[in-house]
């Protein structure tokens, strides 16, 4: 206590100095309109700048979540647009009833948002790893899409990760797809060259379509629901045996810039697989 008092007494003039300067500065900024305004505007600029940085940083960190939500939303809306377009085309019956049916149909799919952990483009048989696995409900054979279009099919899963065979896999990727509005279907394959180009094979010769038509999944495979965007027809070739068309398709999915994806979990997939298996087995027995 004594030391403290001594210390205070010894340095009393410094405290006095601070007090007097504070009084002066307060007077200066309080009663001089010029200094006051300069001070005020400078302080405003500084504070504004600080808040600007702060919000920029904050918004950057919330972008991840925003991105995820947008991917989900985009996928959902894309699907809905497709359904509604088809409904519009078939607008002969009572619309509201069909719409409700379609929306119910949509809700049978569960969407699991995931992030791409590793991605490759330059091999013939590319693979993608995503950060969701069995514990999140991801199973083998589920479809994977992103906001722009189809990505691939889950090949194997661990507890927290899954390997996806993307469209860009020469040997293993066979996604069933169809030409929008016409319904002719074929198989999507990749030739291992350009990551933005794939081919739809086995389109029948009598199919009528034109360049620029959209290709989407047809929903036969039980992996993807109908209407997930695949790409746009760029060129039309004859197949090697001349029995069908081979369509060159520009993929809507940018595999070089893939971050947020959704795994499409179809509740009916098990049932559909089981019945298909049963049918195959019974046919084999007959043969």
């Amino acid at each position: 206590m004594k030391n403290l008092l001594e210390f205070l007494l010894k340095h009393f003039h410094w405290f006095l100095f601070v007090i007097l300067e504070t009084i002066s500065v307060v007077l200066l900024f309080q009663y001089n309109s010029y200094q006051n305004s300069v001070w005020f505007s400078t302080a405003n600029v500084v504070v504004g700048k600080f808040y600007e940085w702060n919000s920029a940083v904050e918004s950057f960190f919330s972008l991840t979540k925003v991105n995820e939500d947008l991917t989900l939303r985009n996928f959902y809306l894309e699907r809905q647009v497709t359904q509604l377009r088809r409904l519009y085309g078939e607008a002969t019956e009572d619309l509201s009833v069909k719409e409700r049916q379609e929306l119910e149909f949509l809700s049978q799919y569960k969407l699991i948002p995931a992030k791409v952990v590793t991605n490759e483009l330059h091999r013939a048989n590319n693979l993608i790893t995503i950060n969701k696995g069995e514990s999140d409900g991801v199973k083998e054979g589920m479809g994977v899409a992103c906001g722009k279009g189809v990505v691939g099919v889950v090949y194997s899963t661990s507890a927290h990760y899954a390997i996806v065979i993307p469209v860009l896999n020469v040997n293993s990727s066979r996604i069933s797809c169809a030409i929008r509005g016409h319904g002719y279907f074929g198989v999507l394959r990749w030739d291992g060259k350009d990551a933005g180009i794939a081919y739809v094979e086995d389109i029948p010769r009598h199919a009528r379509f034109k360049r620029g038509d959209w290709v989407e999944t047809n929903g036969y495979s039980s992996i993807f629901p109908a209407g997930v965007l695949v790409g746009q027809i760029k060129e039309v070739y004859n197949s090697r045996d001349g029995l069908s068309y081979r369509l060159q398709v520009r993929l809507t999915t940018d595999f070089g810039n893939l971050r947020d994806v959704v795994v499409i979990s179809d509740n009916t997939i098990a049932e559909r697989l089981r019945i298909m298996q049963e049918a195959r087995d019974s046919l084999r027995i007959k043969n």
Binding site: H13, F17, L20, S24, L27, L28, V38
Partner: protein, 166 residues
């Protein structure tokens, strides 16, 4: 002690009145204003209580501000100079000097006194005009104000010192 106090109070009033009536109205070339009252702060002797210097200077600044209608401006700058003065003066004190040595041309000699007074006056003008203009966009005006005022103030102080010696 009482006499010293009265004398100081007398000088105090004189500096305030001179500044308020005469010197504060001079704006040579629209920039140089004599700020003679800083001489009051520079003339405190060695070992004068530091809080006393601070209080005197603050009050002087406050009064000057009252007359020139710039609250806080001169008091802030003068208080700063008053805080520096005792420490700075200590550097110039000869080894075998009296305890209450006064900073003057006669006690320090012209050269040392010049070092002493120029730095304090320039410091004062620097702080004063920085606070008054409060931005450095117009830095030529700021520099000419600091330089001009310091020059004319120093001129007056030298006149004063020389007159005092005779």
């Amino acid at each position: 002690m009482t006499i010293d106090l009265l004398k100081r109070a007398g000088w105090f009033i004189v500096f305030v009145l001179v500044q308020a009536m005469v010197l504060g109205r001079i704006h040579l070339f629209n920039c140089a204003t004599p700020l003679l009252y800083v001489y009051f702060v520079t003339s405190f002797p060695r070992n004068y209580p530091k809080w006393g210097i601070l209080l005197w200077s603050f009050l002087l600044g406050l009064l000057i501000d009252t007359f020139s209608n710039t609250p806080g401006l001169a008091s802030a700058s003068l208080t700063l100079v008053a805080a520096v003065q005792p420490y700075y003066f200590e550097l110039f004190v000869p080894r075998d000097s009296v305890d209450d040595l006064k900073p003057a041309m006669s006690t320090l000699g012209p050269l040392k006194y010049t070092y002493y007074i120029v730095v304090l006056v320039v410091l004062y003008c620097l702080v004063f005009y920085s606070l008054e203009l409060f931005n450095f966009f117009n830095w030529t005006q700021w520099a000419s104000c600091v330089g001009g005022s310091a020059l004319i103030t120093l001129l007056l102080i030298y006149t004063f010192e020389i007159a005092k010696n005779k």
